[in-house]
Every structure is written in structure tokens, then in C-alpha cells.
């Protein structure tokens, strides 16, 4: 397998190169490739179908030179820069793996990352759907894109380090304002390689360990290489035609976003639930308040409810399952939580209906949620 490493990559070229390799590897025009790279600090990358204005503080990005672009892979908005390792694994997928479950593909392709993290002494594990976590805190975000050629692109963003206040300034969150409490809350839901290993490990060291992890997981020898002339040329064409065009970066999905909140008093304290819907899916859930429960247990519950059908019975079933697995959630009464989620979802649905009935209204974002 070929290994390409590069640093300080522009968002538009980095994404164009990944898509080019996925398309070419499916056609047999490029070999299977592992690309380990960093972006030029900083850029914000939204998921394939997100609406930029719903996810990103564009005024902040413009004022601070934060580049904004759209990934070919799905999922939520992230920030990338010199302290986040981008992983792009491109493999032909037409035979055998092209139609297996996304979860199995994610787990399979995450194998190299998990091995590398284990070598660093980080007890990371694959979390349901699409993250690698350590003790309930997100450490790596994952995504997969299947090109029409059958080529598969596995994307991962490894948080070697993370500027949480910057992230909260760039990415819209359910928080109404950015205070120390919100920064602490966001920091408690994520972790970084440096925090886990307890030392200032360099990006190059992390990259080398991840590369070794993939070599072992895929039982393959990695040979350092550069893009071929044809690959670079194709990537540059795609960069110009797609990843530098506003039509791609600012495209809108027809599925409306809508947000709702619910504050419920419980014997354990105030429960503050905020949800964002994308059509009939729960796109994001935030559970806060002044109850006493382990943040990582709450973060895991939030993660389980992300990209989850909004239907009340299915939400309740997932919540019940989380309570069975996570005794640490006991600080929040389950029935109160289900009721708060139900209320917040209903309010979001009402907001969506109102937005639909007013053809000139903008769909709400998480900050515009009604209390």
C-alpha cells in the first residue's frame, strides 16, 4: 500500500485529492493509498449534506481567516489544522465490501488507528456508528464515501490536540454563549492524543505510529510516495471545478434543520435538553443541566442519539438501552429525560412546520432554538 504524507494542505486541495484517489482507485487507475496529512490552520469542514450557515459562524471565519469547505463524507462540522491528523484511506470496494454495513466498514478501516493508539497506551475503542472514543470522550471522527467507481474513501480526523474555545467560535453549538462553563462542557465531551498520553507528542510521531498501525492491521507494507502527475492534475481540476466553487461549499440540502429545547425540573436538578432535527432524524442532541452525572456517560448517550430517527418510541428504546449499559447515568431520572427529549423534539417539529409555512423564513439553527 502506498503512503502519502503532506502538511499545511489547503482545504480545497486536500478534499479534492481524497475524492480523486477514491474515484481512481475504484477504476484501478491508482493503487490503494493511505494518506496522512494536516491542513493549513485552520479550516472548518462541514459534512456532505450540511448547510454551512446552520453549522458555521461565517462572520468569525471571515474575520479570522478560517477556510470553510465541504467534505465528500457525511457527519458533522469539524475544525482541522496543524494539530489534527487527517487520515484518508482509499481502497477499491466493488467486490465484497462495497455493500456491507457502514458500521462494519468503519470498524474494519479503523483497525489501523486503534492499533496505533493502543501502542501509545491509549485505550481507545470504536464507538457505535462512527467515532473512536476513549472513556466516552470523542478522540477521532470517522466517515466513509463510496464513489461511483466503487472506490471507498475512509476519512478520519484524529484530535492530536484541540483548541476548544476556537472550535466553539467556529462551529455553531447548542450553547447560547461561550463561557468557561461551556468550554469545560465541550472539553469534557472530547479528548486529544496529547491529553491521553500525558505528554507533548509530536504530530510526526503520531503519524508514524498510525502508519505502523495500518501496516499491521492490513498486513501490508507501506511505501512512501508522492501523488503521480496524473493524480495531481486530476485533483487540481476537481479542486477548481468543485472544492473552490461556492456552488459546492454553500450548497443547501432540501431537508430542513429545526431546533427545539426543553427545560425540566427533576428531583436531581434542572435538566436542559436541546435537539436539532434534520427531517425525521435527530442530527444533534445536547443534554445539560445542574444534575450530578459523569460527563462521559452523557456524551455517550448524546452520541447514540445522533443521526437517530426522531420517533419517540425509538428514542425511548435507545435511552433505556443506554441506562442499562451506563449505570453512571443514574443521576438523571430516565423518565424525566425521555419526557424532556420528547418535548424538545416536539418543539423542533413545530418550528419546522412554521418554517415550512413561511416560504421566506430561514430554517432555524441551534442558536435560534425556542426555550
Amino acid at each position: 500500500m502506498r503512503l502519502i504524507t503532506d502538511d499545511g494542505v489547503a482545504a480545497s486541495f486536500g478534499l479534492a485529492a481524497d475524492e480523486t484517489l477514491a474515484q481512481r482507485v475504484g477504476l484501478g487507475a491508482s493503487p490503494p493509498t493511505l494518506r496522512l496529512y494536516t491542513y493549513r490552520s485552520h479550516c472548518a469542514l462541514v459534512g456532505r449534506f450540511q448547510n454551512v450557515e446552520n453549522e458555521i459562524h461565517m462572520d468569525y471565519c471571515r474575520a479570522h481567516g478560517v477556510d470553510v469547505n465541504r467534505r465528500p463524507t457525511g457527519g458533522g462540522a469539524i475544525i482541522m489544522g496543524a494539530e489534527q491528523l487527517g487520515v484518508a484511506l482509499t481502497l477499491p470496494g466493488r467486490e465484497g465490501t462495497s455493500y456491507c454495513h457502514a458500521r462494519e466498514l468503519m470498524e474494519h478501516f479503523s483497525g489501523g488507528l486503534l492499533r496505533g493508539l493502543k501502542r501509545l497506551g491509549v485505550a481507545a475503542r470504536f464507538r457505535r456508528k462512527n467515532d473512536i472514543e476513549v472513556q466516552g470522550c470523542k478522540l477521532v471522527g470517522l466517515g466513509i464515501f463510496r464513489a461511483s467507481s466503487g472506490g471507498l474513501l475512509f476519512h478520519a480526523s484524529v484530535l492530536v490536540d484541540l483548541d476548544v474555545p476556537l472550535m466553539l467560535h467556529v462551529i455553531k453549538t447548542p450553547f447560547e454563549k461561550i463561557t468557561d462553563k461551556e468550554i469545560e462542557s465541550a472539553a469534557a465531551r472530547t479528548s486529544t492524543v496529547r491529553r491521553e498520553v500525558g505528554r507533548e507528542i509530536s504530530m510526526d510521531d503520531v503519524r508514524a505510529i498510525v502508519a505502523d498501525g495500518y501496516a499491521q492491521a492490513f498486513n501490508a507494507e507501506l511505501s512512501a510516495a508522492e501523488f503521480s502527475v496524473a493524480e495531481r492534475r486530476e485533483a487540481q481540476v476537481l479542486e477548481r471545478s468543485k472544492y473552490r466553487s461556492d456552488a459546492w461549499v454553500f450548497r443547501r440540502t432540501e431537508v430542513a434543520d429545526a431546533s427545539g429545547t426543553a427545560k425540566v425540573k427533576t428531583p436531581a436538578g434542572l435538566l436542559d435538553v436541546r435537539v436539532t432535527l434534520a427531517g425525521r432524524m435527530l442530527k444533534a442532541v445536547y443534554i445539560g443541566g445542574d444534575f450530578f452525572t459523569a460527563e462521559n456517560a452523557v456524551a455517550e448517550l448524546e452520541e447514540r442519539l445522533r443521526w437517530h430517527p426522531r420517533h419517540s418510541e425509538r428514542v425511548a428504546a435507545t435511552v433505556e438501552d443506554c441506562y442499562r449499559r451506563q449505570p453512571d447515568l443514574g443521576g438523571i431520572p430516565m423518565h424525566a429525560l425521555c419526557a424532556a427529549l420528547h418535548k424538545a423534539i416536539r418543539r423542533a417539529k413545530n418550528a419546522e412546520t412554521r418554517a415550512r409555512s413561511d416560504p421566506y423564513a430561514c430554517f432555524v439553527n441551534p442558536e435560534a432554538a425556542i426555550a
Partner: protein
């Protein structure tokens, strides 16, 4: 629990991409959607995008993209022709496809260029039971379904 898959025998299937095509009586169009096995591999759909009406499409080419959980992938044309209609309701509410993949969850209508030749490359009729059994066995052997 054993999962049953509904693969109706009134249409044609692209064996690689799990897309179906069905001629629409009294028209020169075929409707296209994703089959139950394809959906099983993807789960609940969050978003769909589709190419514009009037676009020329080639069999095997992308006619759109979908996102389920975090996996995004191209939707592939089972036949060549001109994209004649898109299901706007499914674009606004992608879970319609999960609810009713062969009815209200259709994706596009294509005016085929050479239905006679290209439909022969799709699975239908007598070949359907063996293909479905083989695919279910493949899914089981991989541990994707019970």
C-alpha cells in the same frame, strides 16, 4: 431474529448496486429506487441529493448521493438515458425511502436509451430467486444480517 427481505418480482435489479428499475405502464419511463438489501446495508437515510431533470445519465454512473449515519455514497443509474423526474418528496424526507422503498420512496424516473438491451443486464424473472438467495447468504456469511 431472522430478517426477511422484500424483493418484489415485478421489477429489475442491478445486482452490484442494489438499485431497482421498473417500466411505468403507458409511459416511456422507468422508475428507479434502492432495494431492501441495499437499504439494509445503509440503515436510516438522512439526506439524498439527485441530479437535475434533463441530465443524460449512463448506466453505472452516479445519479445522486445519499447519506445514512455517516456513510455517504453515490446512487448509481441501473440504465442509461435521460433523467425525466425526481422524487421531490423523498428529497425533503429521505426516510420515505426506508418506509416504502418500492412505492413512495422511489428516487428518479429515467427515459431509457436502450431498455431492451440494458434490461438484459439486470436481474429479473426466473433469475431473481437465486440472486436474492445468494445475496442473503453473502450478507449472512459476512455477519451483516442474522
Amino acid at each position: 431474529m431472522t430478517i426477511e427481505f422484500d424483493i418484489p418480482d415485478d421489477r429489475y435489479y442491478d445486482a452490484t448496486h442494489h438499485m431497482w428499475a421498473q417500466p411505468q405502464e403507458g409511459t416511456d419511463r422507468v422508475r428507479v429506487g434502492i432495494d431492501a438489501l441495499g437499504l439494509q446495508s445503509l440503515g436510516d437515510l438522512a439526506y439524498i441529493s439527485l441530479r437535475a431533470v434533463g441530465d443524460a445519465v449512463q448506466r453505472g454512473e452516479a445519479i445522486g448521493t445519499l447519506e445514512a449515519a455517516k456513510m455517504t455514497g453515490d446512487l448509481t443509474a441501473p440504465v442509461s438515458g435521460v433523467l425525466a423526474a425526481r422524487n421531490e418528496a423523498a428529497l425533503r424526507d429521505p426516510m420515505l425511502v426506508n418506509d416504502d422503498p418500492y412505492g413512495a420512496g422511489w428516487m428518479v424516473a429515467i427515459q431509457p436509451r436502450d431498455w431492451e438491451t440494458e434490461s438484459g443486464k439486470l436481474v429479473s424473472g426466473d433469475r431473481l430467486p437465486d440472486w436474492v438467495a445468494g445475496e442473503i447468504e453473502r450478507y449472512r456469511s459476512q455477519g451483516w444480517v442474522e
